[in-house]
Amino acid sequence: MNRADFLARVQSATGRNPKAPITRPPAPPSLNPIQDARVLAQRFKLENERVLGQVHLVESLEDAREGLKTLLIGKTSYVSSSHEILKEFALEKNGLTLLEPKDADVGITGANFAVAATGSLAFSSSHGRLATLLPFHHIILLKASQILPDIEDLYAKLGSLELPSAWGMHTGPSKSADIEQTMALGVHGPGRVDVIVILDS
């Protein structure tokens, strides 16, 4: 059906006066006051690990590089996203083979934002989607200053930004409870997720 006919049908069903001005209900509940980045980082760790992620709080960039090296022990191939934070990590020197997302052991990416109250990470498609989805192991490098208090803060933020083709919010490893309510990880997204949070900005 064409758009005009479809919308005319809907308008008639609403019974509204098309000339009347439209004022939406007032804005949602107010945003949380900014909290200390360290406090938010602690909460993020608590909530992300509650949903079976692993969070490593480190003081400095150097500690983060060490942390990443440890997490990559035993891996042979990787893929990364184009997030700026990765420039600090010289990934091409980590001894792993760079492969396509579908073949890599591990995806190493940054994130755009995180949410403390739920342990969530927000990824913009402008840095590449498949590196965060296809490898079984996903490692994220994050600064504590990127962490927002709760999801209403995140969506207020996303609503104020230029939109990429997709935002992906990930909260821990992929889960399914479709086989008689028993939990299985890694069907179909990553089954293991590690986040390294750098406290010193």
Partner: protein, 480 residues
């Protein structure tokens, strides 16, 4: 999905006899209920949040054509395409045209109740395309040739033993393997479909008008992959999914995961606004949204039923309903079951088809209490019942029986006479079933106490007094 709600009188008896499914459904719903209540309790003022969500939904529905127009304009401004479908046949034709233009052979799908509603898979397969359901529960059902029984956990009725046998038969997985092993096999197999599919088809949880975006929530990641890897992405939505702004997601995504599965957040949320941009390294090259009516505009026009379109498909009302807990979803005979199905199905399909459902309720009110958008489900169930009666849809015997009962109760002399007659026979403790409607329906599954030999009026007239009752003064006779 084939419509068989009219079968409910028999279907529900079959469901009650299936103790395996009853057990699985009871366990799943109890788990969901407990988790939901715990997560609701964490919110500082959950009732205020629900009321606000209801207000936003009502506002959007009141101006739905405006918001749909904004949605379409904004999606198209970023290179996406929006199609409008009057009904299922229209939608399937549109989707077929897109897949044929894309030369699609393999289609991967993430979970979508609306595509079940319009029987999309059948239309695509008839046209020679292969369709794979990627949600693990839907995948299992697809292999078994079954339909989903719950809008959130489509395979909750399936005991693990049946899944074991299926995977053993198809993939040689040893019987008794853990859920992890079965899931690992599913990951391996379905992964190939994500990588090779030409088209990905998804549902939509919310459509954001002012940004031109659609939102999909899930735990497995299959929707993220379905909407990221294939060259073409088609999202199918009922017209009532619209919300005004991205910041509204701060409320709706706070409520939906808690109401549905007792999670603070689903594992994955996709907020999709268009095909990949030239600078992006991956993502679909084509993005289509199909907006479906299929009876929803008449529910919108029906003021008493409009609020049912607030539904965000959380499934809380199903999980909490004592009738759903005993029956599971299949007995309801269509895609939308439980209390929301009992209210929506008459609106979408007509009461002639769906009349059993509003009556399959004890009106306990639990559904209305848990609804995250405060749909007045108990009141709507009564409204549908009223319409079924005034529409002449009830069995003749029942209608006549109720009429006779009404006339009796309105006539004091008749009532007195029948009261005397009723006590003429020594019944014993319970009344035998004399086949008199409406009492006989009650008596099919319950006892009805027999009247005492002396009625209360008789006892009163004989000077009934209790020792503990205070002595009351007889009022003085007055002159006026």
């Amino acid at each position: 999905m084939e419509i068989s709600i009219h079968d409910f009188p028999e279907a529900h008896l079959r469901a009650l006899a299936n103790t395996g499914v009853r057990g699985a459904v009871m366990r799943a719903t109890q788990t969901f209920n407990q988790a939901r209540e715990e997560r609701y309790a964490e919110l500082p003022d959950v009732e205020a949040l629900k009321a606000y969500a209801a207000t936003v939904k009502d506002h959007t529905l009141e101006h739905l054509d405006y918001y749909l127009g904004r949605l379409a304009d904004n999606i198209e401004s970023r290179g996406g395409h929006v199609h409008f479908a009057l009904d299922g046949a229209d939608a399937n034709q549109i989707i077929l045209a897109i897949t044929q233009a894309a030369n699609a052979k393999l289609i991967v799908k993430s979970k979508s109740m609306v595509t079940e509603e319009i029987e999309l898979n059948h239309a695509l397969e008839t046209a020679g395309m292969k369709v794979i359901e990627s949600d693990l529960g839907e995948y299992i059902l697809q292999l078994e040739g079954e339909h989903p029984s719950h809008i959130i956990g489509p395979a909750i009725h399936k005991p693990k033993t049946e899944v074991d046998e299926l995977f053993h038969k198809l993939y040689d997985v040893p019987l008794g393997s853990s859920a992890d092993v079965l899931a690992g096999k599913a990951r391996e197999i379905i992964r190939q479909d994500f990588l090779n599919a030409d088209v990905g088809i998804s549902g939509v949880n919310f459509a954001v008008a002012e940004s031109g975006s659609i939102v999909i929530v899930e735990n497995e990641g299959n929707a993220r992959l379905t909407t990221s890897r294939p060259r073409v992405h088609i999202a199918v939505m009922g017209l009532e999914k619209v919300i005004p702004n991205i910041h509204d997601l701060g409320v709706f995504l706070k409520l939906l995961p808690r109401a549905a599965t007792g999670q603070r957040s689903t594992v994955f949320v996709s907020l999709i606004s268009g095909p990949k941009t030239d600078l992006e390294v991956d993502g679909p090259e084509e993005f289509h949204v199909v907006v479906l009516d299929n009876g929803r505009s008449s529910v919108l026009a029906d003021i008493e039923m409009r609020a049912s379109l607030r539904c965000i498909r959380c499934g809380a009302c199903l999980n909490t309903c004592p009738v759903y807990q005993q029956l599971g979803g299949h007995a309801y005979g269509w895609v939308y079951s439980g209390p929301i199905g009992s209210v929506l199905d008459p609106g979408l399909l007509g009461l002639s088809e769906a009349k059993s459902l509003p009556f399959a309720s004890s009106l306990c009110g639990a559904c209305g209490d848990v609804c995250p958008v405060k749909i007045p489900l108990p009141q709507m169930l009564v409204t549908q019942r009223t319409r079924a009666v005034s529409g002449g849809l009830m069995p003749v015997a029942e209608t006549l029986g109720i009429k006779a009962f009404k006339n009796l109760m309105k006539n004091p002399a008749l009532y007195k006479l029948s009261s005397k007659l009723g006590r003429f026979v020594k019944w014993g403790k319970t009344m035998p079933n004399l086949g008199i409607a409406p009492l006989s329906s009650w008596q099919a599954t319950r006892d009805f106490p027999a009247p005492n030999q002396k009625s209360f009026r008789d006892l009163w007239n004989e000077g009934l007094n209790t020792e503990a009752a205070p002595k009351l003064e007889k009022p003085e006779a007055s002159d006026d």
